[in-house]
Amino acid sequence: MNTVLSRANSLFAFSLSVMAALTFGCFITTAFKDRSVPVDIHVSKVMIKNVDDFTGPRERSDLGFVTFDISANLQPIFDWNVKELFLYLTAEYSTKSNALNQVVLWDRIILRGDNTKLNLKDVKSKYFFFDDGNGLRANKNITLTLSWNVVPNAGILPLVMGSGHKSLAFPESYETAKSY
């Protein structure tokens, strides 16, 4: 510690160690928090088509179209250890060929500081709702749930499902091609 450089070295190393301990403290204060909030989902329009799916092995697959409303208040989740939330809407159902299918229809990133009250109406799905085969037609029970991935400043990234889901049924017949 006789020279300026060696004093600066020990000062900086000590500061970094203290900073690491503070980050661990930040993680510990929020590690065991429950990050689930109630979510309200409504479905306004449901339609189904049978189209060629070039990414799949068979000739024609079912393609579903769902228009929905989501409302949720995500403010309680944000604390000093949350950087952003990655929300995604999942449709879950079972068919004759597969016991469990899960398809992500829509997702969104909410950063810290953005508006945390979600009140979306008439949202169309972002991604195609293709089925692995023809299992969507006349399927009585398709469950829509909103989940999110919490991205922290320090610590693990939990996947949390919102409480509240919506079940819907697909119609019996396919929609014929409309003329515009």
């Binding site: 510690m1 000062l11 000590f14 500061s15 503070l22 000093w80």
Partner: protein
């Protein structure tokens, strides 16, 4: 121009070094505790980091330059040996001793 910088003494004595280490450790720990509590209160980790950086800057200012308070107990060197016939043997021993103390 650099000879002017080199002539500024930057060393401290041992008691001064111990005092400097205690000062910077104390300042940084205190600012860390204050920063942690304030960040927890406003729920923003950015404030914790800013307060820590402020504490780091204050302790840099307090301990990096060699203030006179760190030089109050200088080492007491032995008086120089007067010139005698045994001087040639004494000289390399003295210079070795000085290197160890540094």
């Amino acid at each position: 121009m650099f000879s002017a910088f080199k002539s500024i003494p930057t060393d401290m004595d041992y008691k001064g070094q111990k005092l400097a280490e205690q000062i910077f450790q104390g300042v940084i720990l205190v600012s860390a505790v204050i920063g942690f509590i304030y960040g927890l209160f406003v729920q923003q980790f950015g404030w914790t980091v800013y307060i820590m950086l402020a504490g780091f800057t204050v302790s840099c200012f307090l301990t990096l330059p060699p203030w006179p308070m760190y030089r109050r107990n200088p080492l007491k060197w032995q008086p120089a040996v007067p010139e005698a016939s045994g001087e040639n043997r004494d000289k390399p021993q003295e210079s070795q001793k000085k290197k160890k103390h540094k």
